[in-house]
């Protein structure tokens, strides 16, 4: 592992993003615009907006990050730059951490805008602190980033990578406890829900919504989110093959 290579990689990925203003705009504006839409939709149901606002605020960056990072790393594979990098003195984790740093920076901007918008003009009321909303949101986005990096190992084409979204993200959305409380789920579904990472990401947001202070349960949720993120990055490095057939 080499910090200079990791930082150079992060700078390179951010430079590439800078050259693609449309993607940057989509990353920063779309989650905020969707929040506005949700607020408008629930104009006459303020309590409902306060109830689901925070979890939804976590979902948009999470989904976007899965798609963007899986396509970005897949592009690295298909253009041959990955093969070149792997013939150079670069550790596989240097590359993934570089991506993580770059997209982590994007996540901070993305979630920062959404949280400021939600708590400010949109008037979202949560029992917990605003900074906690931000921290949980960024960690949830980073979880999406790590899952995207890992998933890209299983896609041969960008077309396949995009298809992973419904295959991997939608079941997690259905089972995370936002649509139906987890307590009312069938035991089997609840067991599945227990092992899906988004469940913990959303649970943390629901706790910020309903209770003040950084409770013990949020700590457990965020530990699971971070552990999954690290595991996905390490597995991502393992699945990057230096030698191929």
């Amino acid at each position: 592992m080499n910090a200079a290579i990791t930082l150079a990689t992060a700078r390179r990925v951010l430079n590439q993003l800078r050259r693609d203003p449309r993607t940057v705009a989509l990353l920063l504006v779309v989650p905020a615009a969707l929040l506005c839409l949700l607020r408008w939709l629930l104009t006459n149901e303020r309590a409902n907006f306060d109830h689901i606002g925070a979890p939804v605020l976590a979902i948009f960056p999470f989904v976007l990050m899965v798609v963007v990072t899986s396509v970005a790393t897949l592009r690295e594979r298909t253009t041959g730059t990955l093969e070149r990098l792997l013939t150079m003195p670069m550790h596989k984790l240097d590359l993934l951490l570089g991506y993580a740093l770059a997209f982590g920076t994007v996540a901070i901007a993305q979630v920062g805008i959404s949280v400021a918008l939600a708590l400010g003009p949109l008037g979202l009321h949560v029992a917990g602190a605003g900074w906690l909303l931000f921290v949980v949101g960024v960690l949830d986005a980073l979880l999406g980033m790590a899952l995207g990096l890992f998933l890209s190992a299983f896609a041969r084409t960008e077309f396949q990578a995009v298809q992973f979204m419904p295959a991997v993200v939608f079941p997690q959305l259905l089972l995370c406890g936002l649509l139906t409380p987890r307590s009312s789920m069938d035991a089997a579904l609840r067991a599945v829900s227990d092992v899906l990472p988004l469940t913990y990401a959303i649970d943390a947001m629901q706790r910020v919504t309903s209770s003040s202070g950084a409770g013990h349960r949020i700590g457990i949720d965020l530990t699971v989110v971070c552990a999954t993120m690290i595991a996905a990055l390490v597995l991502g490095a393992v699945t990057l093959r230096r030698r191929t057939r």
Binding site: A4, I5, A8, T9, R11, R12, N15, Q16, R19, D20, T79, G80, T81, E83, R84, L85, L86, T87, M88, P89, M90, R242, R243, T244, R245
Partner: protein, 240 residues
């Protein structure tokens, strides 16, 4: 003469099909070796074995005295793939700066390689907006970073105009004169005249190897284009 590359009984198979069969060859340090053969003959696979990104079924590859793919080799060779493997959405300099950082070489190196490939005027252009030939030279410039001892170049002159091709072969000759070993693949036999030694590949086997003159004599023809055809015919005649 020391050997930059020693290949013994190399075999590679993909999906049950053999891509390379019992390849045996050596490459002298400080020389230009041309790897020639029709497309699909296994040239790229052989080069991939040298740089350590190919799974090898049997045999051995030794590069600069170390097993192919050894970690210690990663600063010592440059590799240019057939398609330009650089970031199309970055400028030429941004690309070189990044790869220089990965290799840990100095910034002054970037100016040198830009001059080597004649891209000084395009240093701040975004790669995607350059012509195909210019993009290929960006990829080559990247491989020249860090003064590698061995250059593995997969069809570096494909699609370039005659003037550029001449300039690149001059650069390759200068590099070889300074002690760099070059292995250059091509499917155009005319390129062979620039090489000290040739390796003719067909269907994953070595059809013939030697200096251009040796091969001319063996084939009994003067024109390098005919050499390959004649050698194939001779082999088929021997089989019959």
């Amino acid at each position: 003469m020391t050997h930059a590359v020693v290949i013994r009984g190399l075999g590679v198979s993909r999906g049950g099909r053999e891509i390379l069969h019992s390849i045996d060859t050596t490459v002298e340090a400080g020389s230009i070796t041309g790897l020639l053969g029709p497309s699909g003959s296994g040239k790229t696979t052989l080069l991939r074995c040298l740089v350590g990104v190919q799974v090898i079924a049997e045999g051995s590859v030794e590069v600069l005295g170390l097993p192919g793919g050894d970690v210690r080799l990663r600063r010592r060779f440059g590799y240019v793939t057939q398609a330009p493997s650089v970031y199309g959405d970055l400028t030429v300099t941004e690309n070189l700066r990044y790869f220089a950082a990965v290799l840990g070489t100095s910034r002054s190196d970037i100016a040198n390689v830009l001059t080597d490939v004649g891209l000084n005027d395009h240093a701040s252009d975004v790669v995607n907006r350059l012509s195909g030939g210019q993009q290929a030279r960006v990829s080559l410039a990247t491989a020249l970073l860090g003064k590698p001892e061995l250059l593995v170049l997969d069809e570096p002159t494909v699609g370039l105009d005659p003037v550029l091709r001449r300039d690149l072969w001059r650069l390759f000759a200068e590099l070889a004169a300074s002690g760099v070993t070059l292995i250059v693949s091509s499917h155009v036999m005319q390129e062979a005249q620039h090489c000290q030694r040739l390796l003719l590949l067909r269907d994953g086997r070595i059809l013939a190897q030697g200096t251009p003159n040796e091969l001319r004599q063996r084939a009994g023809v003067d024109d390098l284009d005919d050499v390959f055809l004649r050698l194939i015919e001779n082999e088929q005649g021997a089989d019959a």
